[in-house]
């Protein structure tokens, strides 16, 4: 079995293992899940190093006929766009798995679904066949629904159903788009690589299909105004699931643009660029403003995701090197940073059982290590130079400035707003006089620290040496830009 299939289906094996374990053996279940996730993470890292970055094409390709009657292939492969995503998926899955030790009830089901989710996410990033892509895309949906709906907060049912239906509605459009592509191609094919190389569709058709796919991806990203499921889902989901939701699921949407919409529908993409930029700018500013109004810690970060993913969309809308690189880097960074922030919220929530920002205060003196972590992650989120967030935003803005000056200029307001809400959050949580209620709050423990340190290392490393990761996907994105006829800068 080759690497990609191994990576994708190892969690399924783990799931079977978990299912075969008696549900009273909580420790064993956790251990199985952790070991499987760790192995997957190791394999992803291995993939990262084995990947030949200088080559823009697909690597580690696996292609087996699956449903030959309708030309469906089990076609996997990675390029510079998917490798960082796979890596971050593997990593966050491991960390979130460790963070899941806090789950106390129905552990067996939880980890089984969790591993299934992991398979879905990894598969989505590896699939090169639209059909397969869609299958994995939906595989992600179902366990997520249960994970939110069973282990979530007080309004979990509402959030889960909203998430599920909303995303499903998007996927339906996506499916329509996929089918349209299938029937428009000769010979009928689902193969992304074939579709992107050999087919030049009429602009009108492209527009329609792009719109359909856009709806599917936009809801997942989420792009304003399709974002309202996100705060609900984030707030209600258990911490590790929030991490995965923010860290990986949102990326699936933008990844879809990179992987499907752009290569296959280049003309429509250029045509829609300006509208996407508008939506992105609205998202950035709007998300920032709404974050500012939040009193719920998690909800604030959820809305900040709207804002930050807006930057990704902005980078996507500009069709030049720095824009695309920035967008991809921003995806990667958002995964690490927001993932870390959600973990930190979880740490605090475990101790205080509240997420109301106004009920904290002065925790910085009581739990300095936690405070330091929260500060660093927040600073990374608001784009402090030296940490990874800055590089992504900088490149995105630089790229967008070339194409849409006004968009970049207005988006800068988002940067200020990010500083506002994040610092205000820090002030309300860590600074000020200590809320006497939390005078015996426990410091972050070793397990929680273990989940954060790798992210921290990545954030600092990417912040200081961004070229390393830029080299990873640069050739691929540049090839994509060239194929789209964008600006090579």
């Amino acid at each position: 079995m080759s690497t990609l299939s191994l990576i994708i289906f190892l969690p399924v094996l783990g799931m079977i293992g978990v299912l075969l374990t008696p549900k009273t053996e909580v420790q064993a279940i956790r251990r199985i899940a952790t070991i499987v996730s760790a192995v997957v993470c190791a394999l992803c890292t291995f993939l990262l190093f084995r990947f030949t970055a200088s080559q823009p094409g697909m690597q580690f390709v696996e292609k087996i006929a699956w449903i030959p009657q309708i030309n469906v292939f089990y076609h996997l492969g990675v390029d510079g766009i998917s490798v960082p995503m796979i890596f971050i998926t593997g990593l966050l899955s491991l960390l979130a798995c460790v963070a899941s030790y806090g789950i106390k009830e129905r552990v067996k089901e939880y980890f089984a679904l969790y591993l299934l989710l992991e398979t879905g996410m990894l598969g989505t990033f590896c699939a090169l066949d639209l059909f397969l892509f869609y299958v994995f895309w939906e595989v992600v949906l179902v366990p997520m629904y249960f994970l939110i709906g069973i282990w979530g907060g007080p309004r979990k049912e509402y959030a889960a159903i909203k998430f599920f239906l909303y995303t499903l509605a998007g996927s339906i459009f996506m499916l329509l788009g996929i089918l349209a592509l299938y029937f428009a191609s000769t010979p009928h094919t689902f193969d992304i690589t074939v579709l992107s190389v050999n087919h030049a569709f009429a602009l009108g058709f492209q527009k329609l299909v792009f719109l359909a796919l856009f709806l599917g991806f936009a809801i997942k990203v989420p792009i304003w105004p399709f974002h309202t499921w996100l705060p609900d889902a984030h707030v209600e989901a258990p911490t590790p699931i929030s991490v995965l939701l923010a860290g990986i699921l949102l990326k699936m949407g933008t990844y879809g643009f990179f992987r499907i919409s752009y290569p296959i529908l280049p003309d429509a993409a250029r045509w829609f660029g300006i509208y996407m930029a508008i939506l992105a700018v609205i998202g950035i500013v709007y998300g920032g403003f709404v974050s500012l109004a939040q009193t719920d810690f998690k909800k604030m970060i959820a809305y900040s995701s709207v804002s930050h993913m807006g930057f990704v969309l902005l980078g996507l809308a500009v069709f030049n090197y720095s824009g695309f690189d920035g967008a991809l880097l921003q995806m990667f960074n958002h995964g690490t940073i927001t993932g870390g922030l959600f973990l930190l919220v979880g740490v605090l929530y475990d101790r205080t059982h509240t997420r109301d920002l106004s009920s904290f205060g002065g925790l910085g003196a009581r739990i300095p290590v936690y405070a330091g972590m929260l500060t660093v992650f927040s600073l990374a989120s608001l784009g402090l130079p030296g940490l990874s967030g800055f590089v992504g935003e900088f490149l995105t803005l630089l790229g967008s400035f070339v194409t849409y000056r006004w968009a970049a200029a207005v988006s800068c307001l988002g940067v200020v707003l990010a500083a506002c809400y994040l610092l205000w959050m820090i002030q309300r949580v860590l600074l000020g006089p200590l809320n006497i209620q939390w005078k015996s709050i426990a410091e972050i423990n070793r397990r929680e620290l273990f989940t954060l340190i790798p992210l921290l290392v990545i954030i600092v490393f990417v912040g200081i040496f961004p070229q390393v990761i830029l080299n990873l996907f640069g050739p691929t994105t540049h090839a994509l830009v060239n194929a789209l006829g964008g600006i090579s800068q």
Binding site: P225, Y321, V391, C412, V416, C420, L423, G432, G474, S488
Partner: protein
């Protein structure tokens, strides 16, 4: 020179050591931090000495490369850098030493030194940068340190708020800076400092330099934020919530000067576009006057100094804006020393009296002799009393203003100079002379604090000399890269300056030492003016009214919009779907299902007849089967 990169590295290493071992190190962390800064100072000294010989140095490496676009960071050392290195490392080291005494009792002692070291490293990185983006990175980092250090006593809500205010206000400027950088990059295609030569710019702007000018103004917006220029100056007075050494180092001597440094660094760019220079000059002048005016009525010792700083920074900006590159930078240097001294002196006072309110002080001179004397030196220097350093630098600025032909600016600056002398000595008199207004157990600070005071006093006194006619304006030549500058002394300007200084001092001493009732009386007479000054032109309130309030409103509004309209639409669509489903359900049950049931009913009727065939007896079936078999055989037989 090739070891110049070590300069920021030393403090950074100190930072790393302290931040990760803070609990263990305790007070030893101070030693590490001071060691780091002194090593930086030592290396800087070597670098400065080399620069004095006329050497420059630049080294670049590639940080990001995307296609043809690349960001080449590096180190650039020229006279301007050397001057900044001198200021930062020397003043910084003094303040580090001073802090040992000042922060001795603080529970987060080592954290403090960690932040200071980080700041030191970032600041040195800033001045060594060879690239706008690199500078921007360190620019943000010093802002971060400023944020940490202002909010150092974060248990005080005011301190926490002040930190945030500082960060966000400067961030607004920074965004302008960033956009300016993008614009500049789009126009010029490079952001390397050394690429910006007059010839290059001339070539680039042949078609028209509007965008360049805009870029320059946007970059100046960044400088505005950092250097607390109007209208972004509001954060600096609040920043006094931080520990006094911080105020001295960051908010007086170094970081706030970074804005001036930025303009100086980009001077070639600004010089190319008169519009940009005009903006700088006007903003600088407004700031200088306004801040001085506010300082007249401030009662908090540190606030007075803070407004003084703003005012002096305005001076520098005005000088740069009027084309006085050397004047601005010269004042930057001298100001750094005497303002640091002033803050440290104030710190010593606060340390000794445990209060910051001028109205509660008085008569400290006998009890804090060294502090008082050094403070006096600094006050005289800032007031522009010859031959102290402030006199020469300020004089040159006034000269520049005078020669630029803009009399309004000259006059305003002159008045400002008068006011400077006045408020400084108001401060001095209220704090050190007379009798104590309240029972305070004032005492002299320990040697670890007074020695830096003395050293700084010495510098404050003599640092004007290199730029004075006595040294033949050596500094001006040096800062221009070795080209000796022709500067003639205008005695009229000197007279005006000295007159303003002395009159201000005299008035202050008379009013506050000998006629204490008069100021109150004056305040009543000029009530509107007094209120304007006392309430800082109501700028904070204004901002609250037109920016912060609406922002909060907007965010609340958008949140409600999000919850009601956007989410409402989503939910409403769900509800409508459910309603529609109910309708369909009715249709389904009565029409569709009715049809189905009807068919079923008919089928049932029919089958009731046919089911008689199903006897349920297996042998019956078997018999029929046999019959069938027989039938087949017969058919087969007679076919």
């Amino acid at each position: 020179m090739a070891y110049a990169y070590l300069i920021p590295v030393f403090p950074f290493i100190a930072f790393l050591i302290i931040i990760f071992n803070g609990k263990r190190l305790k007070h030893q962390s101070a030693a590490i931090a001071i060691g780091g800064s002194l090593l930086a100072a030592a290396v800087s000294t070597v670098v400065i000495l080399n620069t004095l010989k006329g050497a420059t140095y630049s080294h670049t490496f590639e940080w990001i490369r995307i296609g043809t676009f690349s960001l080449n960071f590096g180190i650039l050392i020229d006279p301007l850098t050397a001057m900044m290195l001198f200021v930062v490392t020397y003043v910084g080291s003094m303040i580090f030493i001073y802090s040992v005494g000042y922060m001795h009792e603080d529970p987060r002692f080592s954290r403090f030194f960690a932040y200071l070291s980080l700041f030191m490293a970032s600041m040195l990185g800033l001045v060594l940068s060879s690239h706008y983006v690199q500078l921007f990175i360190f620019w943000e980092l010093v802002g971060l340190c400023s944020y940490f250090l202002i909010g150092f006593w974060f248990e005080k809500p005011s301190a926490a708020k002040a930190g945030m205010k500082a960060f966000i206000t400067t961030k607004i400027g920074d965004v302008g800076f960033l956009i300016g950088l993008f614009l500049l990059f789009t126009c010029a295609g490079t952001l390397q400092f050394k690429d910006f030569t007059p010839e290059f710019l001339a070539a680039k702007t042949q078609a028209g330099g509007g965008l360049f000018a805009l870029a320059a103004i946007l970059i100046f917006a960044g400088a505005c934020g950092k250097s607390a220029q109007f209208p972004l100056h509001v954060w600096l007075p609040d920043a006094m919530e931080g520990p006094t050494p911080v105020s001295a180092l960051i908010h007086a001597a170094t970081m706030v000067a970074a804005g001036v440094y930025l303009v100086a660094r980009s001077f070639v760019l600004f010089a190319q576009f008169p519009q940009a220079l005009e903006v700088v000059a006007v903003i600088g002048t407004i700031t200088a006057f306004m801040a001085a005016f506010i300082a007249l009525t401030a009662t908090d010792i540190k606030k007075v100094l803070a407004y003084s700083t703003i005012s002096q920074l305005g001076y520098m900006m005005a000088a740069l804006g009027l084309g006085g590159f050397s004047a601005g930078t010269f004042h930057l240097m001298t100001h750094a020393f005497f303002k640091a001294l002033l803050f440290l002196g104030a710190g010593s006072v606060i340390h000794g009296t445990q209060t910051q309110d001028l109205r509660e002080m008085g008569g400290l001179f006998p009890r804090m002799k060294i502090t008082s004397l050094t403070f006096l030196v600094a006050a005289l220097a800032i007031s522009g009393v010859p031959p102290l350093s402030g006199f020469f630098s300020k004089d040159e600025i006034l000269l520049t203003a005078y020669e630029s032909g803009s009399r309004v600016i000259f006059l305003i600056l002159l008045v400002t100079s008068f006011m400077t002398a006045f408020y400084m000595f108001r401060l001095f008199v209220l704090a050190f002379l007379g009798k104590p207004r309240k029972k305070i157990h004032a005492h002299e600070s320990p040697a670890v604090m007074t020695v830096p005071l003395s050293v700084l006093a010495l510098f404050s006194a003599v640092l004007g000399i290199p730029g004075s006619p006595y040294w033949n304006h050596w500094f001006q030549g040096f800062i221009h890269g070795g080209h000796a500058q022709e500067i003639h002394v205008n005695l009229f300007v000197v007279k005006c300056s000295v007159a303003a200084a002395f009159s201000g001092i005299a008035l202050a001493v008379i009013l506050y030492r000998f006629l204490p009732k008069v100021p109150e009386w004056l305040a009543k007479i000029f009530k509107p003016l007094y209120l304007v000054s006392y309430n800082k032109f109501w700028l904070d309130e204004l901002y609250q009214l037109i920016f912060i309030g609406p922002f909060k409103k907007i965010s609340q509004l958008l949140f409600r919009f999000d919850a009601v309209i956007v989410d409402g639409a989503v939910n409403q669509s769900a509800v409508q779907t459910v309603n529609l489903s109910a309708l369909k359900n009715w249709f389904d049950q009565h029409i569709v299902d009715g049809t189905v049931n009807g068919v079923a009913w008919i089928t049932q009727r029919m089958s009731r007849i046919l089911r008689k065939l199903q006897t349920g007896l297996i042998q019956n079936y078997l018999l029929i089967l046999l019959l069938g078999l027989l039938f087949t055989i017969v058919i087969g037989f007679y076919r």
